[in-house]
C-alpha cells in the first residue's frame, strides 16, 4: 500500500464515520420547523414596528401559523400582502379597520403662547416634568418631537412646535401613542376625516387664555350633529364608534367658532400655511 492509497482510505473511512454521526444527529436532535413561518416572515414588512402588539414580525408570523392571530393584524401590510398570506395558509384574512394616529392639538407656536424659555433636555417626557412644560397650555403638544423621533415610518412632521400626522404615511402602529407624555395621540379609524384638535379638559375661560383656538365646549357641533359629536368635560369629541362619521362638508356647515374642529386635510394645509408665516 503506497502513501496515496493509505491517505484515500483514511479520509474515506473518517468521512464515512462522520457521515453516520451527522445522520444520527440529524435524526435525533431534529427541531420541528414550520416552513410556513419562514414564508410568512418574508411576506410581512419586517419593520418590526410592534403595531400588531407582538414582539416583531417573526413573532406575529408564528402567532398567525398557530392560529392566534390573523394576517390582518399587521397594520402595515398592504391588502395584497394580507391576501397572499391568507391564501398561503388557506385561512380567513380577518377584517381589520386601518387605523391612523391623530395628534389632538392645534397649539402651534402661533396659537399657544410659549410661557417660558425651556432649555433642558429636548424631549417631551423630560420637559413635561419641569413645571408642566414650556407652553402656556398644560394639556397640549409640547412640540419637542419625541413622537416624530419614535415614528418608524416618518409619518409625523413638526410644524411650528406642533406634531402633525400624515395619514397616508401612518400605519397605525401606535409607537407615538406610548411616547407622548400628554396622551394627546390616539389611534382612530382611517376613514374618519374629521377630528377635534384639542384635548384640554380645562374650563373655556382658561383655555381661551392659553390658546387661540381651543375647543370651548360650546356644543355647536353636538347640536348640529348629535350622532357624530359629543361634549364631555368641556371638550367635544368625534364619536368614532358610531356609524356616522362626520365629513369635511359637515365641518364647513357647522363652522366651529374657534376652528379646532377640522378635517384632516384642512388641518395639514392650515398648519403648513402657518409654518411658513
Amino acid at each position: 500500500m503506497n502513501t496515496l492509497e493509505a491517505a484515500v482510505l483514511l479520509m474515506g473511512v473518517t468521512g464515512g464515520i462522520l457521515g453516520v454521526v451527522i445522520a444520527l444527529a440529524a435524526r435525533f436532535f431534529r427541531v420541528a420547523h414550520d416552513p410556513r413561518v419562514e414564508l410568512l416572515i418574508e411576506l410581512l414588512p419586517n419593520a418590526n414596528c410592534g403595531g400588531c402588539g407582538k414582539a416583531g414580525c417573526a413573532d406575529l408570523a408564528r402567532a398567525i401559523v398557530a392560529g392566534e392571530a390573523k394576517p390582518s393584524d399587521c397594520p402595515v401590510s398592504s391588502r395584497e400582502a394580507i391576501a397572499s398570506m391568507s391564501s398561503l395558509l388557506g385561512i380567513d384574512p380577518g377584517v381589520a379597520e386601518k387605523k391612523v394616529a391623530v395628534v389632538r392639538c392645534n397649539g402651534d407656536a402661533l396659537h399657544t403662547k410659549v410661557a417660558v424659555n425651556y432649555n433642558g433636555v429636548s424631549d417631551c417626557a423630560s420637559a413635561a416634568l419641569v413645571g408642566g412644560g414650556p407652553k402656556s397650555c398644560n394639556y397640549g403638544c409640547l412640540g419637542l418631537s419625541s413622537c416624530a423621533r419614535a415614528c418608524p415610518f416618518g409619518a409625523i412632521e413638526m410644524l411650528k412646535n406642533l406634531a402633525v400626522v400624515h395619514p397616508e404615511l401612518c400605519v397605525g402602529c401606535g409607537k407615538c401613542v406610548s411616547v407622548c407624555p400628554r396622551g394627546l395621540i390616539t389611534l382612530v379609524p382611517a376613514s374618519a376625516q374629521v377630528h377635534v384638535y384639542c384635548n384640554s379638559p380645562a374650563r373655556a375661560a382658561v383655555k381661551r387664555k392659553n390658546c387661540a383656538s381651543p375647543c370651548l365646549g360650546c356644543r355647536k357641533c353636538e347640536r348640529q350633529s348629535p350622532d357624530s359629536f359629543e361634549v364631555v368635560n368641556n371638550l367635544a369629541r368625534v364619536k368614532y364608534s358610531s356609524g356616522t362619521l362626520p365629513t369635511p362638508e359637515l365641518v364647513e356647515a357647522i363652522g366651529c367658532p374657534t376652528k379646532c374642529l377640522r378635517s384632516v386635510s384642512g388641518h395639514l394645509e392650515q398648519e403648513r400655511k402657518e409654518a411658513h408665516e
Partner: protein, 444 residues
C-alpha cells in the same frame, strides 16, 4: 466667640457646598407677618398621599381655621381656612410641579375671625392617641418639602423600635433662611414641638441638627434645649445635609437600608418648622394655616422672611417685598437646588413652600452641555453613592431597566451631580425622567 465652636462638627461626606449660598440676603432680617390680603388660593392636595376632599361649597362663609377639606384616606391631611371670608369659587390651577390641582378661592372679609378652636392640650399629661389625633386634626404635614402627613410619620410600624428623633434644622438649600429665623426667634416653639413628638414616640433620644453657618441659632437653641431634653448638634454646612438619610448618618452614624424608611434604622426625622406647627396644634389648638417663607433672590427689591398664610399668591408675596429689581431669569418655589421652576407669578404658597426665589438672569446662565468626560466628579459628590453619569446615559438612551439595576430610584434628585459636572450635563433631568418612567411601568 460662640460656645458652639467647642462642639464637634458632623457631616455625611460627599455633597457640595455652593460658593455663593445667598443666605446673607435675608438671614439678618426678622420674620415679618404679612398683612391680610383680599384673596387666598388654597390648593387641594397639600400633602403627599391620598388627596383630601372639600367640605365647603361656593358661597359658604368660613371662619379662620375652619375645616375646608377633610382627609381622604389614612395618608392624607386636613386643610383649614387661612382667614375668615367667603368661598368665592373653585378653580383648576397648575401646582408647583405643573400638575393641575383643584384650588379654592377664598375672599377675605377683613375681620380675620377665628373659628372655635379645640381646647389646648397639656402635652405632658395627654395620651399618645390624643396628641396624634390633634396633630391630624390640625393638618400638620412635613414642612421641609416632602409634605408627608405628620401623624403618620409619628406613628411608625410597631415592629420598629425608635431610638432617635432627629430634628432637621440643617436648611442646607442656598438662599433659604426661614428655618434659621424660626430657630433664632422662636426656639421654645421648636423645642416644645420636639418634646411633644418625642413623647409620642416613647421618649427616644432627641437630636436637633443645625448647620454651622447658623451659629446664632445654635446658641439660642442651646440656651433652652436642656429644659426640653433635646440635644443640639452642629452639622457642617454642606448640601444636601438636610436630606433625611444624610442627616441621620451625620447625627447618629446609622444608615437607612436601601429603599426603606428611616424608621427601619430606628429614626424619625421632623423638620423644625413642622415641630413648631406641632407645638401650635397641641398647645394652642391652632391648625397649620401659616408658615415662614423666605422671599429672596437678587432680582427682588427687598428680600425678606415673611410669615405668609397658606394660599398667599406668589405675586402678592413679591409685592410685599417691594416688587422686582429686574426681570427675573427664573422664579422658583423652594430652594435653588431642588425648588420648582415656575412659568409665571400665578402660583401660591403651599404648606411645604419654604421659599420663593427670584433669580436674576446673570445667575441663570445657560450652558451648552457636552458629552460625558468620564471624570467621575458626579460620583464624588453623590450623597447616595450612585453613579449619576451612567444613570443619565442609560436614561438618555432609553435603557430604563439598566438605570433601575443601578438603583436610580435611590436618587434624591438633590442636583449635586449636575452642580459638579464640568460638562454641564443635565444629569438630574435625565434621572428624573427615568424615575418617572419606571414608576409608570411599575403602576402597570
Amino acid at each position: 466667640m460662640s460656645d458652639s465652636y467647642k462642639c464637634p462638627v458632623r457631616t455625611f461626606g460627599r455633597g457640595i457646598h455652593p460658593a455663593n449660598d445667598g443666605k446673607s440676603l435675608s438671614r439678618e432680617l426678622p420674620v415679618r407677618r404679612a398683612p391680610l390680603l383680599e384673596n387666598y388660593f388654597v390648593a387641594l392636595p397639600q400633602n403627599i398621599g391620598a388627596p383630601p376632599s372639600w367640605v365647603v361649597k361656593v358661597g359658604d362663609e368660613v371662619k379662620k381655621g375652619q375645616l375646608l377639606a377633610t382627609p381622604g384616606g389614612k395618608v392624607s391631611s386636613a386643610i383649614h381656612a387661612p382667614t375668615s371670608g367667603k368661598v368665592a369659587e373653585f378653580l383648576e390651577t397648575p401646582g408647583p410641579t405643573g400638575a393641575m390641582v383643584s384650588t379654592l378661592k377664598l375672599t377675605a372679609d377683613g375681620k380675620d375671625e377665628w373659628t372655635e378652636l379645640p381646647p389646648p392640650l397639656d402635652w405632658k399629661t395627654a395620651s399618645r392617641e390624643e396628641l396624634l389625633q390633634r396633630i391630624a386634626d390640625c393638618g400638620v404635614i412635613g414642612m421641609g418639602g416632602a409634605a408627608f402627613p405628620t401623624q403618620i410619620k409619628l406613628a411608625p410600624p410597631p415592629n420598629c423600635k425608635i431610638d432617635f428623633l432627629v430634628l432637621n434644622g440643617a436648611e442646607c438649600e442656598p438662599y433659604l433662611t426661614a428655618d434659621h429665623r424660626l430657630m433664632l426667634e422662636q426656639p421654645e416653639r421648636v423645642l416644645t414641638g420636639a418634646a411633644i413628638a418625642s413623647k409620642i414616640l416613647g421618649n427616644p433620644r432627641t437630636l436637633i441638627g443645625v448647620e454651622d453657618n447658623k451659629r446664632d441659632a445654635i446658641d439660642r437653641l442651646n440656651r433652652f434645649a436642656g429644659e426640653y431634653g433635646v440635644e443640639v448638634l452642629v452639622l457642617e454646612a454642606r448640601y444636601p445635609q438636610g436630606s433625611e438619610k444624610q442627616l441621620i448618618y451625620a447625627l447618629t452614624g446609622r444608615r437607612v437600608p436601601e429603599g426603606a424608611l428611616p424608621a427601619a434604622a430606628g429614626c424619625v426625622v421632623q423638620n423644625v418648622a413642622t415641630a413648631a406647627a406641632i407645638a401650635d396644634a397641641v398647645c394652642e389648638g391652632k391648625p397649620l394655616i401659616e408658615r415662614i417663607v423666605t422671599v429672596s433672590g437678587e432680582a427682588l427689591m427687598h428680600p425678606e422672611n415673611l410669615l405668609l398664610r397658606i394660599g398667599t399668591p406668589v405675586l402678592e408675596a413679591v409685592r410685599l417685598c417691594g416688587g422686582i429689581r429686574e426681570e427675573p431669569g427664573k422664579l422658583l418655589l423652594g430652594g435653588p437646588m431642588m425648588g420648582f421652576a415656575q412659568k409665571n407669578f400665578d402660583g401660591m404658597v403651599w404648606k411645604n413652600t419654604s421659599g420663593i426665589l427670584l433669580l436674576p438672569p446673570r445667575l441663570c446662565v445657560q450652558y451648552e452641555s457636552t458629552g460625558c468626560l468620564r471624570c467621575g466628579r458626579c460620583m464624588e459628590v453623590c450623597p447616595m453613592n450612585l453613579v449619576p453619569c451612567s444613570l443619565a446615559s442609560a436614561a438618555e438612551s432609553g435603557k430604563m431597566d439598566l438605570a433601575l439595576q443601578n438603583n436610580v430610584l435611590d436618587c434624591l434628585e438633590c442636583g449635586a451631580c449636575a452642580y459638579a459636572c464640568p460638562a454641564h450635563r443635565p444629569l438630574v433631568q435625565h434621572i428624573r425622567r427615568a424615575k418617572a418612567e419606571i414608576r409608570k411601568m411599575k403602576k402597570k
